[in-house]
Subunit: 217 residues, 2 copies
Amino acid sequence: MLYIADTPFDLTAGRAHTPGTPEGSAGTEVDRRTAIVAAALELFAVQGYRNTTMAELGGRAGIRGPSVYRHFSSKQQLLSEIMFATMNGLIEGFARAIASTSDVAAQLREAVEVHVRYHARNRFEAFIGTREIGNLDEPARSEVIARRDAYEMSFRELITLGAEEGRFQVASVRLASYAILDMGMGVAVWFREDGPLTEDEVVRHYGAMALRVVGSA
Amino acid sequence: MLYIADTPFDLTAGRAHTPGTPEGSAGTEVDRRTAIVAAALELFAVQGYRNTTMAELGGRAGIRGPSVYRHFSSKQQLLSEIMFATMNGLIEGFARAIASTSDVAAQLREAVEVHVRYHARNRFEAFIGTREIGNLDEPARSEVIARRDAYEMSFRELITLGAEEGRFQVASVRLASYAILDMGMGVAVWFREDGPLTEDEVVRHYGAMALRVVGSA
């Protein structure tokens, strides 16, 4: 049983096993690198960064002995790569959402949908991103935190714009931004592909709820 | 620097040090027990359950040697006590909120306010409750999860009632419940007593945002 929980609700989480490319198979160098990252996502999420060794990661990815170091110099490099990929994915998704329309309410809806879809699809990444930040060495840690702050701030600026245009009615832009982002991150905790609601349904409902939070007219 | 994070935003969290009662002081048995729980909350949150020893907990609480075992037979007992106290606090808070009024919208607002206030005040508890559930032995683990499910279900039933009375307009009761609870739990991550908004302000705004989420008329 795998426990992935950052809310007190629906604590049991599983995800299909992503097998690594067995050594000696037709796997390319790129395949092996991908398999190591997949192994790191799973093992860091399930047993924690500190409790995982490079040897385990190699084994999980089907790579014997020290050749795992040909792809990643350290566990720390893997953690850093996962953390940056997560934040970059979110930031790029926000940029795409904003560029897709010029209507501020449609922009917010789209940005929330992208945020929620990311958290539904990347549950290990979301979990590691929050639980293992303290194990990321400097300067990477400060840089990841700066990107998280920038991501949050971009939602805050969008809500501010909507309020200035008279489209949103918010008592506190900051709290509305936190509430919207936090409810979206919660999706990473409870969402299951085989659950009662599809990813598209969840995404659409969260987009609509976010517009309600900002009192969208 | 203490990292308490279960959202990607505002990762650095601190809380005033709660010193234990020094041994040899006028502290009573009850004081010592309280000091051990306070030490466990801090050390489990900061360094994790597995990385904390009973000796450290005793030391932090100002109790020398094995006499810490006079109060708690094991780390596991402490973890269990913290987890149950958290869930019981939330469940009792919900019951009080519901009893305080007969209007369904006022009930939901009050229940959300209690939920948010609890998470603003009990940040270590919230963090431990989510991160350490996998370290809780059975049958306690299943029982805590059952209480969490019951707590979530009580919000869902309240929202269903409001929808049946025509007071709430929700596309998905389940998602509205998740969104409201998740946004409230997020408060435990970013709230600071010396931040720009007081606890009462945050509580009031979240109560209002929750009513928006359910389309309260």
